[in-house]
Amino acid sequence: MAVLTEEQTMLRDMAREWADNEAPVSAFRKMRDAAPAAGYDAATWAAQAEMGWTGILVPEAQGGAGMGYVSLGLVLEQLGRNLVASPLASIAAATSAILLGGSDAQKAQWLPRIAAGEVIATLAIDEGPRFDPAKIETRVEDGRLSGTKTFVPEGDSAQLFVVAATDGLHLVSGDTTVTRAPRHLTDSRSHAQVTFDQAPAEALGGGAALIGQVADRAAAAAAAEMLGMAESAFAQTNDYLKTRVQFGQVLASFQALQHRMAKMFTELELCRSAVEGALEAIDSGRANVAQEVSLAKAVANETLHLVSREMVQLHGGIGMTDEHDAGFYLKRARVLETQWGNAAWHRDRFARLNGY
């Protein structure tokens, strides 16, 4: 566990308590069954905004808390534990784009509203089914942006899009010039194909390089959510093995299963270090952010993949049923693994960054 400030400890404890009391996995199930177009429950989201989580990254001058990515990660981790359907990670990605590339006017226009929880914002990079920030055809001419973005998270409800074009990131308001087509993925969250046709766009500074920097921050946030999911999936499995009796013994007494749990626990510890390392690197503005993020996302992908798969297998038949929560973790895991670069993508970049 990273060394937390008193403020961060309070934030984490509050987030954890809230998620456990107000947004357990049963709340996600309820949302899944009700299937709102936005992909999240409005009241649950309002509560999160109320607690100020939308302002974690926003400087105090613009109405936020200015706490940084480690703090954001702590909250996302708690949400991940209970699979809370929340646009917070998408909003944070959009926020980081404005923080890094926004003019004073853009910051003044958007950040206070984001901090106040008034705006659902999201990041739209990909134009195909696989993460590829190098393959962008969306163009901006005379301040008008045209192109199609696929599988945009929170694309169904976003009021502000941070869109990657050939020359960098642009802010596009989610008004009528935007066509949204929902894409129902396995995780029952919001993803949409979004088409911009001559949409008025405002460029952020930083050019094409900004796309990579923002994608890294989005990836680090996803890794934090994945860490929380893996922790919870692991804990639930561990509890189950201690209660399920077969052959007159609890499953937890079988050495073959103990060793598997021990291996998962080990991987989880490595995963936590990698995720916290990436968030800290971003906060302290270190030069190796890209490398640290690739490490974190690749490790989080592999760890959550292992744990969510084992959660189903070790629960046996019950883990296969829709009635049990294991499937939710398995399905969401795959979506997050695909988002902002899968393990292979990040391993490849890690190698390149290290000169081989």
Binding site: P182, L185, L257, G316, D322, G327, T338
Partner: protein, 406 residues
Amino acid sequence: MATAPDIDAPANPLDSFRAEVRAWLTANFPPSLKGKDNAMSAVEGPHTNSPEEDAWQTAMGEKGWGVPTWPKEYGGGGLSRAEARVLQEEMQRAGAWNPIGGMGVMMFGPTLLEYGTEEQKREHIPAIAKGTVRWCQGYSEPGAGSDLASLQTFAADAGDHYVVNGQKTWTSGGQWADKCFMLVRTDKAKKHEGITFLLCDMDTPGVEVRPIRLISGSSPFCETFFTDVKVPKANRVGAEGEGWTIGKRLLQHERSSLSGGGSAAGRMFAGASLGQIAKRYVGVDGEGRLADADLRSRIARHEMDLRSFMLTLRRASLEAKSNQGPSAATSIMKNVGARIMQERSELLIEIRGFAGLGWDGEGFEEDALKDVRTWLFGKAVSIYGGSTEIQNNVIAKRILGMLDHQ
């Protein structure tokens, strides 16, 4: 896979049989059904057959070739193993598939042929051979999964019949089945020796079936409740208390059929190559190789595993010529088959990215949506029919002679 030997090869006693099979297939297999076999049919339940499908099933059923090695007197094909292989090769060559299947064919039939009375065989085997009666399996219970012998469903002796009470779970296809072969407890004092093998009509009063929804969204399994269900004693297979022996034999047949010996798993592997699909989604480098080197290496590793598995299946089937029935090696096959099937699904998901994670609705290819469901349903493969962990125990204890824990 297996290539059909040339018909002009040196004279072979099977040549005339091969010619007979070829002619029969030409006359009876409608070319419109080529490759139409649905690998997920067992999961999705029965569908309305087209007239061609009906005709094909009837033809195979009457010939007995859906169960080629079963005795002719009970409606089987009466073929030797070598002849059955020829039949399979010729069917593959013609793009034909076996329309007769299900648990009756895979598990119950072979077991009843071994343990049933003459009367029971005459009553049940011909209908299985023709594919007109569906069977389901009443084995697992909520508290008796891997530890099957802990089952509690009780059959009380009531003279000429038993009165059955209890609950089964994971009843595959229970909502579509006509009959159920089940293990029940007839003696509470003994664990393994207190189990009896019964056959029950699913429309008997007191039998209630509730489908279980899986993470894949489908409901191929059910919970089945028995409340004061009367089962005639004539429907008992073997002696009272002999159910564990018979039931275990049936499980061997189940494992061998689940190991993918050219059936369900084989069909799944028969689709487009992973490499080709990956090239489409991931792109190629300057030399035409898959652009993602990491993925490329993992696909190669998977394909090598798959080929080793198929070669092992073939070797095992050749070596089994002299043996009777399935062997302990079926545990290995089930585990490898499950692992490969799951890896394949996961590679497909990874290759397609978000396009491979569609649940429903617009924007996804039909194949991709199907593969998502296969991925999720495939998680059951390493759990049902004796989980991977249980098969590993079987390998350790029965093949390697290792000892019990504690």
